[in-house]
């Protein structure tokens, strides 16, 4: 049984009103994310203990819902649309370009936390497919080449 430290005690305090009933898991994760802007890794253990779940169950739930972040929010968040229209029009190439130019994959930030990549769901703006969202702003339609330009621009601005 691991021993608490300041960080886990703080999370424990944050979760003191949550009870081991199913519906509370998402609430608890939201509470943690609200406080820190993301869900720090140590929080899984604390949430699990509070709700009498296993750490893996909590992690599974947190990664299932795309609104939860496991890394601090970056200054600029690039969301990649995983929807069908974008997929059909070549979002795969966009993704590969994003990943290789940024050197990170979904749910990760660049080392300086300036740019982050996020796996997103279709938001209905399919006419701009394939597209990404830069801090929520639709950018599209993209090609692999224009994605590369976009990344360069974001890096320069960051």
């Amino acid at each position: 049984m691991t021993v608490d430290n300041e960080a886990t005690l703080e999370i424990q305090h944050l979760l003191r009103d949550f009870r081991p009933q199913d519906g509370d898991l998402l609430g608890a994760l939201h509470a943690v994310q609200h406080r820190y802007g993301y869900i720090p890794r140590i929080a899984f253990r604390v949430v699990a203990r509070q709700l009498r779940l296993s750490e893996a169950k909590v992690y599974g739930a947190a990664t299932f819902y795309s609104e939860f972040r496991l890394t601090p929010s970056p200054a600029t968040l690039v969301g990649w649309c995983s929807g069908p229209a974008c997929r059909l029009k070549g979002s795969e190439g966009v993704r590969r370009m994003l990943e290789s130019r940024l050197g990170i994959t979904f749910g990760e930030n660049t080392g300086d936390n300036k740019l982050g990549l996020h796996f997103a769901q279709c938001n209905g703006t399919c006419e701009y497919a394939p597209q990404v969202w830069v801090n929520g702003e639709v950018v599209g339609p993209l090609t692999a080449a224009s994605t590369s330009d976009l990344v360069q621009k974001l890096k320069d601005e960051a």
Binding site: V3, A56, G60, T63
Partner: protein, 869 residues
Amino acid sequence: MARITLNGVGIEAQEGAPLVEVIKKNGVWISNLCYIDGLVPYAGCRSCLVSIEGARGLQLSCTARVSDGMVVDTEAPEVKSARQQVLAIINANHSDRCLTCHRRVKCMPGDICLRDDVVTHRCLTCSKNYRCELQTTNDLLDMGFENVEPWALEPRTYYQTEQPDPDRANPWFEFDPQMCILCTRCVRACDEIRHTTAITLANKGYTSRIAFGAGGPIHESNCDFCGACIDVCPTATLMEKPNKWIARTEDWTSTTCNSCSVGCTISIGTRAGRGVIVKPDLVNPVSADQICVRGRFHYEAVPDKKRLQRHLVRRGPPGSAQLPAHWGELVEYVAGRIKDVVAAHAAGAVGVLGSPFNTNEENYLAQKLARDVIGTPHVDFSQAAPNRAAMKAVEAAFGTEALPADMLRLGTSDIVIVIADDLESSHNVAALRAKDAIVGNPAAPRHGTLLLVSPLWGEMADFAEPYGGTWLQPRPGAEAALVDALAQRAAGGQAALPPVAEGDLPRALEILGEAKDPGRRVSIIYAPNPGDAQAAGNGARAAANLSIALRGDSAGESLIVLPTEANVYGARDMGVDPELGPGRTPLAEPGMSFDQMIDAAASGALKALIVVGDNPLMFAPGSARVRDALASLDLLVVIDSLLSATAQAAHVVLADVPSYGKTGTYTNGERRIDRLHAAVAALGDARPALLALTDLANAIGGADTWSYAHPDAVTDEIAASVPGYERFGAGFGAWGKARAAVTPSRFERQPVSAASAAPAAGELLLTTGRTLYTSLEGAAIHAPDADKLHREEFVELHPADAAAMRIADEDEVMLVSAHGELTLRCKISGRVQEGVAFVPVYYDGGAVNRLLAADGAPAGVRLNVAEPA
């Protein structure tokens, strides 16, 4: 019973049974890549499609239930083709490309493939080649011969997806997610079969993947390396790391794990006489398809080069070298020296130690050598005292120490009472069955209640309060008093309940009230501490009192006393005890116990000691006095497969084979007889202890000549001559199911004496016990990787004590008791209570025994922070 037609053949099946299980049981092969027998179907892979007459479209046989008159076809062309299409989609996202190649049988690694230049992505270079369920599924569905290749026209998703990195950071598992087909069997095995829930399906849709704990490496999750997930994984994603690339076995041998008294049956896969892999073997119905990390991986705890391969002799003064010698020469030498001792003194100047890790056959011959050949009554083993105390208490309560209770009932008990230090660590599969009783699985939910009495936190504690039970945490040493007080209250008395650090005493009393209901199924597990004889006696008395208070005349059906070591009961039944002969017949003239032998050796009354598999310098509390006593013997003979501390002190060492190389029987913690079969070949000159004992007996020359040509001859002699073992001759068939039958004849409450004293001011109470990972064999030779995870190489301290003494995590500290010193690092841990320190009993070959008195009771220790060098 329902009658159904399967591929045109009429068969009988259980109404409502999962169809896929019925199909498999009737010898018809069907792909079922995500199904686990007995669990709720996941129905994710769709590879189990069959046609059922009257149903619309094809049906999943894992979700379909048998009903009378059902007509099922698994082989019709449209069924096969549908399953092929399904498999093609699975293959499209799997790294292999020669699954469907007709040339595969001719291809050897390194050949240039005619169809594909990506030569690494193929079964031929996969560690699971030839033992892979996905591969077999492809073969049996004729994916190759019929050329079912989904990627002929479309891109393969596998090659489009960034594959996560493999996790090879722990000693036992390799997790290679690129091979994963997301069947989620591992997730469900860990959750529903093991109740550990270390694995999850993370992310969703396109990015789904298997993750451990909070997504980090496996060893940072709560996984306890039982390997249940490996057993169900249909691909090479989760694999045993040891021998991963060579575990293509030539043979499988069923034998028994030697690492605790659950006695799980294991099947050892061998190649060229070496063990390369272990799987659970279904023979023991309690362990069934489960084992723990020790059963699965400790077969390779010690590398071959560290095993004894030559017999050794020291003819010079103490401390001089042990030199290799020939078998015959040594047998003559030992026999001569023993005869000299007997002639010069008396037969009573010789002692013999057996061991609870020996087979019954070895222990039987060891005591026979002592009593019948040498003529000495001094027979015992170094860990006997606590077990003897516990068994005397059980005998006093019930009129027999061999209770009829059966661990098979444990998993379906309504109330489970566990009195142990940390059952999860000491007897992992017993703890698993207790958890079965508490949570069951979604296909067979259970709602048992756990009353846990344990001074240490262990994983079992998490199964108490959340499921309506409670974990009572007494001070170490006060368990018996607490259990006895509970027993008195359960019997209607008014005993005051001693204080506990944790736990809900009123709830405990309620549970006991429920446990008195004869309609409830109740199991009481008591696992005595391995070193502390007084506590073991008291604990067993208290546990017996509690079971009698709760269950009256059927108390013996409920109480299971689980010794730490594998074959304690076998050793007692064979007569490795100074007071009992084979069959536990009391002896008119008892010999000396282990402790008395040590005293006699120190005083010069005992001159020679033959140690058969025992290692007192590791197991006996108060090591210093044992070391001095052994050093003053004229002759110390050790028969062992490892150069243990005791073997290093010996004049003669006869190299034995490890337990995986032995044939014989064990008697486990519920007195179920388990079978061992030699799986691995002897190394070098090593010979099974049975041969050593036979040759020694004949060289010393008793009344009869021993002629045991095979271990089975000894097994048969035991069956013929040891009361209680009549049914267990070498020829008996159902090894796992047989048990020595006994009926309790008495039900008596016994007084429990008060707990031992508290430590002095400024001292902590030092306790010890069995931990999960440290291997017996590694510990015996002080191997630096006896605990390959390096989690159990610490003294555990409560945070408050550490803070008071200004000790930080991982600081090196020196423990000083009245008996000795020990320097090691500390771990600040939530497992121990304030004022208590815990050192694993096998840490550094039993180093903690240096700090304890001969009676093994918890000792007061001072902590000195080691000066930085």
